[in-house]
């Protein structure tokens, strides 16, 4: 073979290799972009932004005809998450979380609750959207609009049944932070809304930003002990559910001690988006009239309590009241618990 021919053959091989590499890179880029820009991808990015970025923002919280301003400061530094949520008007309550410690300042009760979790539970995993989740929600991008002079993608998460609530989220295009969110009931009615009035993403937030503004002089401090493993009184009990709403599964089972409470079994059920906690606590023998099942709401979240086999069962979650009632009603004692009662 002549020398020019060999040279041109090498050039052709190089060109082919470059073309293949380019196509592969283009495909990879396209694939990555398609993952990022699917509605589910936006939700994943949003969750990541909320939990890993440093930010300081002020937002309005609307629920039940009431509007209140709150401030949130979030920092991740050296693997430790610090967060402060403060009511700027109204109750003046504050939550400050530093790693495994969560402190709730309740000036209206002149009380401070301190919940200390074991270090291994400090980075609690939260529900993540997956394919199974998508079968119980219709997740789609319903618009692309300007909000507060920022480009946002509007993602609608609509439940396919009445066991869960839906969301509408205005996700910032460049930072993936949710600048506005609405919680909607199964009929599409907005029941809770959060809108950021200001939001600053910064690389550094000083420690002083995580100190409470209120004076706690004369307050009552309530703490839980660091949870022994397993806490006495709770480990002997085995609780299970006979049935769950479609899509829900148990994701966490732990034993812990809450401030002002005895040992409790804590079971968490999630469908990948919504979650429900069930707390089981031994109920002391009633001295007065027997307790009756009761419902309560905290904002748009629901709670339901009842007594089963001498144990207090409380279900709490960001789901409709019927869902917590259903799950609490399905809890049954097994094994030692059943034998011991």
């Amino acid at each position: 073979m002549s020398r020019p021919l060999r040279t041109s053959g090498r050039l052709a091989s190089l060109a082919l290799a470059w073309a293949v590499a380019s196509v592969a890179a283009a495909e990879e880029t396209a694939q990555k972009r398609s993952v990022e820009y699917t509605p589910t991808g936006w939700l994943e990015r949003m969750d990541q932004a909320l939990t890993t970025r440093n930010y300081d923002g002020t937002f309005s919280h609307w629920q039940g005809g009431r509007v209140e301003m709150l401030r949130i400061i979030h920092r991740v530094q050296d693997g430790t998450v610090s967060e402060r949520l403060a009511s700027l008007d109204g109750s003046g309550r504050e939550f400050i979380r530093t790693g495994a410690s969560l402190t709730c300042y309740l000036p209206d009760r002149r009380t401070v609750l301190v919940e200390q979790r074991p270090p291994e539970e400090s980075l609690v995993s939260f529900p993540t959207v997956n394919d199974q989740t998508a079968s119980f929600y219709d997740i789609r991008e319903v618009g692309h609009m300007r909000l507060n002079r920022r480009d946002t993608h509007v993602i609608a998460v609509s439940p396919k049944d009445e066991y869960r609530y839906g969301y509408r989220l205005w996700v910032d295009e460049s930072t993936a932070m949710p600048l506005k969110s609405q919680l909607v009931d199964p009929h599409g009615q907005v029941i809770e809304q959060i809108v950021f009035a200001s939001l600053t993403l910064t690389s550094r937030i000083p420690d002083s930003a995580f100190r409470p503004e209120i004076s706690t002089e004369g307050f009552q401090w309530l703490r839980n002990d660091v949870t022994p493993h397993p806490p006495a009184g709770a480990s002997a009990f085995a609780w299970s559910v006979t049935s769950l709403p479609p899509g829900f599964r148990m994701s966490v089972r732990s034993a812990q001690i809450l401030p002002g409470s005895g040992p409790v079994d804590h079971l968490v059920f999630t469908d990948g988006f919504a979650s429900v906690s069930v707390f089981v606590e031994r109920q002391p023998a009633p001295s007065g009239p027997p307790p009756v099942p009761e419902s309560a709401t905290v904002g748009s979240s629901s709670a339901f309590s009842t007594v089963v086999d001498g144990h207090k069962i409380t279900a709490v979650g960001e789901v409709p009241p019927a869902t917590v009632r259903f799950i609490a009603g399905q809890l049954k004692a097994q094994g030692a618990a059943a034998a011991g009662r």
Binding site: D47, C104, Q220, S301
Partner: protein, 126 residues
């Protein structure tokens, strides 16, 4: 014969006196009866049941307060509910957690308060 003719009127006189007494008694009782249209009040008191004074008796208006039933014991006192909400928030997705804690921050302070706290919690002076 004479004695018989003299005693024949005695039963008649006795009957007349009895009839007179009965008539007077009836008339007297009728004057003591309530006026037509006035309510007949029968007080029957059962254990645990409050009796309501009649407006005429108490001199008050036509209103009363229904006795409040004795409240059933709450399964979860408000402080425990707060604990549960906070504990649950650790396992919620980030958006739901923010909603939940924000709602808790802005919720009205429950009526139950200090006594309940002191009765069932371990307080540590700080």
């Amino acid at each position: 014969m004479r004695c018989c003719s003299r005693s024949w009127w005695r039963p008649l006189a006795g009957a007349a006196v009895a009839a007179g007494v009965a008539t007077v008694s009836i008339l007297w009782l009728r004057t003591q009866a309530p006026l037509p249209g006035a309510p007949l009040v029968t007080q029957v008191t059962t254990p645990g049941q409050a009796t309501l004074p009649t407006p005429a008796a108490s001199g008050q208006g036509d209103s009363y307060v229904v006795p409040r039933p004795k409240p059933a014991a709450a399964v979860v006192p408000s402080t425990e509910l707060a604990n549960y909400v906070v504990a649950h928030s650790m396992f919620s997705n980030p958006v739901a957690r923010r909603n939940l804690l924000s709602a808790f921050m802005t919720s009205e302070s429950p009526a139950a308060g200090t006594e309940e706290l002191q009765s069932d919690v371990k307080a540590i002076a700080h």
